[in-house]
């Protein structure tokens, strides 16, 4: 007899490593994501928790909550996020509506072009607008006027951020228009609706959930954003929650409990908005599913074509071309004072980046090394978590699921604060804090939701029967993973790795907050060059970052598996 004796109630021998996988996945996620969040909460409630004391509970929380600075920063954050969301929607909605009328070929091109703002890290975008519009900036040199007073104002920040974020709403709502547009619009026309009636009575109510859910993402991204408010807002005394946290942690005396209170407010707002977004997104995808769309644009008149071209062209020009041209031009200038002339142009700053002894090259190699390590770790952890959540479906996976989306909802600044509070404690025998390892931990923590989401989605699309068929054919668990799941997931894992790499190379907030003395990353290098006035060197680095991370993101999306998302 070939039977293997086992206790009757244990599951089959082939599955004995499964509880181990669950334990390992839970341990990793709790350490990476759970601890920092817990640390923030504990610090805000018990300011002496680092001495293992619960003394003076709420002694920091209550005074802080009444602090006018905090209230002002919170109101500023809220009004900024709301305004950016509204302006983004205002820019995106007409574009998205017209997108459904475009022929598919040119529509795809505009989609791709309007994705490009994402490739410009927002802090670099803000710096480029400064170069363009400030006193003696490019606009003044070329056209004779500056818009400094607009740029350094509330509407200025709102405009700069909206120009960066509107594609989020555009892409989501144009897809929604495409799904519902032809079908329900045609039905409306058959029953005698006019174009305006069809838009207001049929299209708008149907895209509203998508509009709201993508708007909430813009809201979350705005409230999380550090670079733009720091760069533009600090020039006219405009403080938001994120920049206030930065202040509390970088200006003497350092106020850890105060930073944790601000972080909690930030987390609560962002988390609420994110959950609302998820609920709306789920509802909409449930309401219209399984519809095959063959969107062929309707006939457009010559005048409409011209209007469409102007509409899409100006959005592209403002959101992509202007910043990119500014960055490129700045990176080519020898000296800032030399002005925008051919004689003042060379590749000096660009080639300087690759001088092996330079600070710049140090930053590049640090960033790329960390990003590579982050990509590897993040994807490996994601494979473990995705397999556990999707395939094992035992008790405890709900917690994993929750922890894996948490970094999406929690602002990078809060994660950074959480990591400081967690790892900057004397009781750890070993700590990544004060070494480059803390940056790696931060990057992994921040990027984890992407590979987990991609790999879980991919794994969900692989039916359980593929595994079962292999077990029944006589394959061991290891062979099922190696021969069946690994080859099917490899392209997705690679694509996810590219995305993690690209995000890690451009990550500003956590790099700024966590980098140990003497260590520079690409993002902190750019940021500091501006403080030190070496703007052209900073812009050269920006250009390289955009090109490298941009091509890597594009490469990642072109991979065959990447479309499973």
């Amino acid at each position: 007899m070939t039977a293997v004796a086992l206790p009757a109630r244990s599951s089959g021998q082939t599955r004995s490593i499964r509880p181990l996988l669950l334990g390992l996945a839970a341990l990793i996620m709790l350490t990476l994501v759970g601890l920092p969040v817990l640390a923030i909460l504990l610090y805000a409630l018990f300011p002496h928790i680092n001495e293992w004391s619960l003394a003076e509970p709420f002694s920091v929380l209550l005074p802080n909550l009444a602090n006018p600075h905090l209230i002002g920063a919170t109101l500023n954050s809220l009004s900024l996020s709301l305004s950016v969301t509204l302006l983004s929607a205002a820019i995106a909605l007409p574009l998205a509506y017209r997108r459904a009328q475009l022929p598919e070929s040119s529509g795809r091109i505009w989609d791709a072009l309007l994705m490009l703002p994402f490739l410009i890290p927002p802090y670099i975008g803000a710096l480029s607008w400064m170069q363009l519009l400030q006193v003696n900036g490019f606009s003044e040199q070329l056209l004779g006027f500056n818009l400094a007073s607009f740029l350094y104002s509330f509407p200025g920040i709102v405009t700069v951020m909206a120009l960066h974020l509107f594609p989020m709403i555009y892409l989501a709502t144009s897809k929604a228009f495409a799904v519902i547009g032809r079908r329900y619009g045609d039905v409306g026309r058959v029953f005698g609706g006019s174009t305006l009636q069809i838009f207001t009575r049929i299209h708008l109510p149907m895209v509203l959930p998508t509009l709201l859910s993508s708007g909430l993402i813009v809201f979350v991204l705005t409230i999380e954003e550090f670079g733009t408010p720091e760069i533009l807002g600090s020039r006219f005394g405009f403080r938001v929650i994120v920049t206030s946290i930065h202040e509390k942690l970088s200006d003497w005396p350092i106020d850890l409990p105060g930073a944790s209170v601000l972080s909690i407010i930030l987390i609560l707002i962002a988390f609420a908005a994110y959950r609302l977004h998820q609920r709306l997104a789920n509802r909409f995808s449930a309401a219209i599913d399984n519809q095959q769309v063959d969107a062929a644009g309707t006939e457009r008149t010559g005048r409409q074509r011209l209007i469409d071209l102007l509409l899409f062209g100006s959005a592209f020009f403002l959101a992509v071309m202007l910043p990119l041209l500014t960055i490129t031009a700045s990176s080519l200038l020898d000296t800032l004072s030399g002005g925008l002339t051919l004689a003042n142009m060379s590749l000096k700053h660009l080639s300087g980046l690759f001088d092996l002894d330079s600070e710049a090259w140090g930053a590049i190699s640090t960033s790329f090394g960390l990003a590579l390590a982050a990509a590897l770790c993040s994807v490996l952890i994601a494979i473990l978590v995705a397999f556990t959540v999707v395939r094992l479906r035992t008790r405890g996976t709900a917690l994993l699921d929750f922890l894996s989306i948490l970094p999406n909802a929690i602002p990078g600044m809060a994660i950074a604060v959480g990591l400081i509070l967690t790892w900057n404690q004397p009781f750890w025998p070993v700590t990544p804090y004060n070494s480059s390892a803390i940056l790696l931990v931060a990057y992994i923590c921040l990027t984890l939701p992407y590979p987990i989401r991609m790999l879980s989605a991919a794994l969900k699309q692989l039916p359980q029967s593929l595994d079962d068929a292999a077990y029944i054919s006589g394959a061991s668990e290891a062979r099922v993973i190696l021969r069946i799941l690994a080859p099917l997931l490899a392209p997705v894992a690679l694509a996810a790795g590219f995305i993690v790499f690209a995000i890690s190379t451009r990550e500003l907030v956590s790099s700024l907050m966590l980098a140990p003395p003497g260590v520079q990353t690409v993002a902190t290098y750019v940021f500091h060059q501006f403080d030190q006035g070496s703007i052209n060197a900073g812009m050269a680095m920006s250009l390289v970052t955009i090109l490298v991370s941009g091509s890597i993101i594009l490469l990642g999306q072109r991979l065959p598996g990447a479309k499973i998302r």
């Binding site: 007899m1 070939t2 039977a3 293997v4 004796a5 086992l6 206790p7 009757a8 109630r9 244990s10 599951s11 089959g12 021998q13 082939t14 039916p463 029967s465 593929l466 079962d468 068929a469 292999a470 077990y471 029944i472 054919s473 006589g474 394959a475 061991s476 021969r483 069946i484 080859p487 099917l488």
Partner: protein, 338 residues
């Protein structure tokens, strides 16, 4: 001779008992179907036979090999049971060609290369897909994919082939055709098969024996014709759609103690002399035509008897609202006490 022996198999998930003391035998070379509504435990039983789930108690033996004996603590992992499995969603590995899919279980058996090649050729010609050997699953139609899945199961000459709703993803015409084909292949290869379905038509197409399951127990077991001619109770009659089910009082001569009767559709005939009806001659029961549709060489008539719809077949067209009289062949009538 029995190829598969199942004795007193029980299984619970948490507080809900999915299977209670299931005892069944499947004869060598025959096809047995586990038929029942969703949640009756049929799929769990199939997965227990496959080794993908573990029962709480009971015994399963295939030929002279013990798959499970909970009393002795024996649980053979699925890898060692030498089974074939045909999945509802085909379960074909998308990154492997048709031939590679079929080769996989043969490679796990460590057969020599020439043997693998000849087995692939044999099963592919049996399912008429020889020219598709190099294709990837995505290049095949649904019916072709399911035939590859069957070929993969046949190739390893398994102890048993398990089918999990093999026809339910296919459209109606293809179902009949593939159903016939599976029976022929099972016979040709002398395969013992266990099939799971919730669909009575699929069960009719694919069974020598049917085990009708309800709430984790085997509710009725027998040849298809036994089940459909004589459902054990009104639930079975309704689930199998075996005939018209009416309260007994509709038929005046039946005593009230019997709560429900099942009348096979073929036991109902329209009285010829509907025209004479108003002459007061008491022939058949009174009914009113609700609808009359021409389906497959005959008219399918739904008539209302004392407020209850009944279905019967006729060879002539009736119009809606028309009063008719229906004769009942009493000898085929089954009555169920409440």
């Amino acid at each position: 001779m029995s190829q598969l022996t199942i004795r007193q198999v029980s299984k619970s998930f948490g507080n809900s008992q999915i299977l209670r003391d299931i005892t069944l035998d499947v004869e060598t070379g025959s096809i047995m179907t586990l038929l029942g509504p969703s949640g009756c435990g049929k799929t769990t039983l199939l997965r227990i036979i496959a080794g993908l789930e573990t029962p709480d108690s009971g015994l399963i033996r295939a030929g002279d090999r013990e798959f499970v004996d909970c009393a002795k603590g024996i649980i053979l992992p699925p890898q060692q049971r030498r089974l074939g499995f045909v999945f509802q969603d085909y379960g074909l590995w998308p990154h492997m060609s048709v031939a590679k899919n079929i080769a996989f279980p043969l490679k796990m058996l460590k057969l020599p290369r020439h043997e693998i090649d000849s087995r692939i050729a044999e099963v592919l010609s049996a399912v008429r897909l020889t020219e598709h050997a190099a294709k990837l699953p995505e290049q095949l139609s649904g019916g072709q994919k399911q035939r590859v899945s069957i070929a993969r199961a046949l190739a390893a000459r398994p102890t048993l082939i398990l089918f999990d709703e093999p026809l339910s993803n296919l459209d109606a015409n293809l179902r009949e055709e593939l159903g016939q084909e599976i029976r022929q292949l099972a016979q040709q290869f002398g395969q013992t098969c266990v099939n799971v379905t919730h669909d009575r038509r699929e069960a009719q197409l694919l069974s020598d024996r049917i085990a009708l399951m309800k709430d984790g127990v085997c509710h009725q077991y027998g040849r298809p014709e036994e089940l459909f001619r004589a459902p054990v109770d009104s639930w079975a009659a309704r689930f199998l759609d075996a005939g018209n089910i009416l309260p007994a009082r509709v038929l005046p001569e039946l005593s009230d103690a019997k709560a429900e009767v099942m009348i096979p559709r073929s036991a109902l005939r329209l009285a010829d002399n509907t025209a004479k009806m108003d002459q007061g001659k008491d022939e058949g029961i009174e009914a009113t035509v609700l609808s009359s549709l021409y389906i497959d060489d005959r008219y399918e008539v739904v008539a209302v008897v004392a407020g209850h719809p009944v279905k019967l077949f006729t060879d002539r067209l009736l119009s809606a609202g028309q009063p008719v009289r229906i004769n009942v062949a009493r000898e085929t009538l089954l009555s169920y006490p409440r």
